[in-house]
Amino acid sequence: MAGASKAVADSRANLPFVYRQYSAEQLKQVLYKMYLIRRFEEGAEESYMRGLIHGTMHLSIGQEASAMGICMPLGEDDQITSTHRGHGHCIAKGAEVKRMFAEFFGKTTGYCKGRGGSMHIADVAKGNLGANGIVGGGIPIAVGAALSSKMMKTGKVVVSFFGDGANNEGAFHEALNMAAVWKLPVIFVCENNGYGMSTSTARSTAVKNIADRAAAYSMPGVIVNGNIFSEVAEASHKAVERARAGEGPTLIESKTYRHRGHSKSDRNRYRTKEEIEDWMSNRDPITLFENELREFGFIDGPGIEAIREAVAREIADGIEFAKVSPSPDVRETGNYVYTEQA
């Protein structure tokens, strides 16, 4: 679905992948969505502090380019399975922030009708089969979805997002093996942010790169800088093509970083302030993308300002929508346990 015309494409011949592949409008939309993810999570965090949201949440601030880059070549029919750190994936796959806020506020207008909350956020209509409270829980499910795609000949590609910590669950290994043996149209995306909660990959994982695991399952293992949108999108493109061509799965390791603590109860004692600050000030994915867009002439200062303002409005409207939405009736605790039958 290349958006750039031939003439424009020629003039961009030396630019990184996405600038050759997509139109200026599409790229601006990517920036919009990266801001939308960031501001959504900031809004959720603030609402949590103010007691409007309960439970806990896992913020993906700092990982926006990874979610957007992976989802860029996916169509609406393609599917994803996501993780406890799944707000970005959900928005990148096309969810509306107002219904996400409504879910976090426990309202009936939320994507899971107030039953799931942050950790189970989903948007089945847009192909997001759900975040997951179980580390690694979504990986075999993605393989199952890919098996459906193959058996039903729907042509769908399935992406499974998971963290570096998840690569040490048995489910990861069992799932990759089956996907490879059966040449399924699935893409395994490890968002390696350096830590599973407090445990660094060096302390938890026998291989240096998660992508090295791919060799054990005879599939390509690709490492990308997860904070550079273009790099992620390019790797995702290739993996999607391979999957659609029936050549089987790919493992993409997207190296990134979470700016916030693991969840709302993290003392951050396992990493240094300097490390966090370095990632925030020197490798922020939104800043990096914005700088490239400007440098290559896709957007100017006022253009960026307009995006930020539009995002702020969408966030404010979304929170308002969530606030005024109705709560579920406590007499309906039994709903959705089983499928309603006429």
């Binding site: 107030g114 189970h120 409270g133 040490n168 048995g170 909660m197 407090s198 003392r267 004692r269 605790t333």
Partner: protein
Amino acid sequence: MDAMVRELSYAQAIQEAMAVAMDMDERVFLMGEDIGVYGGAFQVTGDLVDRFGTERVIDTPISELGGAGVAVGAALTGMRPIFEFQFSDFATLAMEQIVNQAAKMRFMLGGEVSVPVVMRFPAGSGTGAAAQHSQSLEAWLGHVPGLKVIQPATPYDAKGMLLAAVADPDPVMIFEHKLLYKAKGPVPEGYYTVPIGKADIRREGRDLTIVATSIMVQKALDAAATLEAEGIDVEVVDLRTIRPMDRQTVVDSVKKTSRLMCVYEAVKTLGIGAEVSAMIAESEAFDYLDAPIVRLGGAETPIPYNPELEKATVPQVPDIITAARDLVKGVR
């Protein structure tokens, strides 16, 4: 000389028990996810890593099946591991090692070995953590011969029963309600044990026996205080151990009060309440019953995220009061 008694939280009491056990016996060590520098998801291990080092406070990768199995293997061969699940829900990933291996090893090998492993499970709802982080699965493990399953309800019992578990030659599973971690109570310094397999009468009464587990013990006591003002005298039995169950204490209590109610957070059907009820129905206490037995348990649903729904799915103090009143006044 009596040991000094302080007010400690339930979490501090468990931490102290682990420290006492590690000081006394160098075979005792801790394993689990993020129990080192992070201090555990609920700060139960806290700063123990600073005191005992990373050799004895081991952060595992996120590998519940493997981790639990490693603990079983170490226990089988001379060590005394205490394995922490980050949430009891993740026991589901380790069921193979718990149910097929730890529980049956001694039996299958004709008594040639034993598996003195302790596993700790932060359990229960009330934290807004939704369906996969809020379950009460103790009855699942309670169904497995070879395991011992306990649910201490106070800081005192949490420490004493953990020390009893470490001393026990067989696998002991400890379910700790997350909402109890901050609850405070008197805890003696140093070593003491509270026996596994013994219930505790937490309040004596004449009109009704409430058999409760874990967090429901305090709720039952709160309900009993309200009911006392109405002239209903409730006896509260804290079951403490669900396998092996203390039959005699419950039977004796029901013979005294002639009425039985079971209160527990786990899903109501096919659970602890069914076992306690059947135990009474099969016992000499049956003839003493003046009214049908009542069970108050969790709703037949996963735990929802919405806080109001979440509260509505597990018994609360007003539910216990109403049910007890109806039971004693013969409404049902």
